[in-house]
Amino acid sequence: MPIPFEALIPFGFVTAMFGVTGTLLHAVKTYKNDGKNPRYGLTQWDRQMMERDKRLTGSFRGQTSNPVAPPEFAYNSSLYQSLQPR
């Protein structure tokens, strides 16, 4: 008996829609993370280190291994971000 191919068309649509939205989401996340994989499971330590990275390099996921920091790094730390609790 021949395969009912018309019944497989909605399966194809659903797969394609999942694929397109998943790919777009991955692309947006990668763009936001300067081309790297997004970070997950962040603790308070990780968040504080990432804030320090942003102060050092200027970008959200930028990394550098210079031994000494630029001179303005000593004075651009924020004592509190806002009065809301972290």
């Binding site: 997950y40 990780d46 990275d53 390099t57 990394q63 031994p67 004075y75 730390s77």
Partner: protein, 151 residues
Amino acid sequence: MSSPDSIAQTPFIDPTPLPSDIPPVDEVGATSAPLKSAAFFIGAYCKEFNEDFMLCKNENNDPAHCLKEGRKVTRCATDIIRKLREHCEKEFETHWRCLDDRNQEYFRCRPLEREFNTCVWNSLKLEKVIPGTPQGQEPIHLKTKPVFKAS
């Protein structure tokens, strides 16, 4: 509460420099991934200065109390990062780039870590030791068949 000028919305940055009687020291310029990669070597190289600083802070948590020990820690960390970059630059860079791409988890970058550790051992004679490993248990970074592997 919602305008950008209100105190609750903007971060508070204080640009006043330190008083001139405190000797100036350049801050460590490495970000989180290189620091995580070099962490155990900083611990091995700067052990005395780090312990002095922690004991000093233990006595009195006031920031002004431990400035001298803190300056020593900063200078030592800067020194070891400079040495790592001078001797093992390629292995260091590949390891921290790998860590940065994989959520900064050590177990996902073990082969590169092994290469980096051998390079540092050959040039600077520093070994990665995980403090608190029970006697007789193989350290996790030396296990040949770990349970949690990089996928």
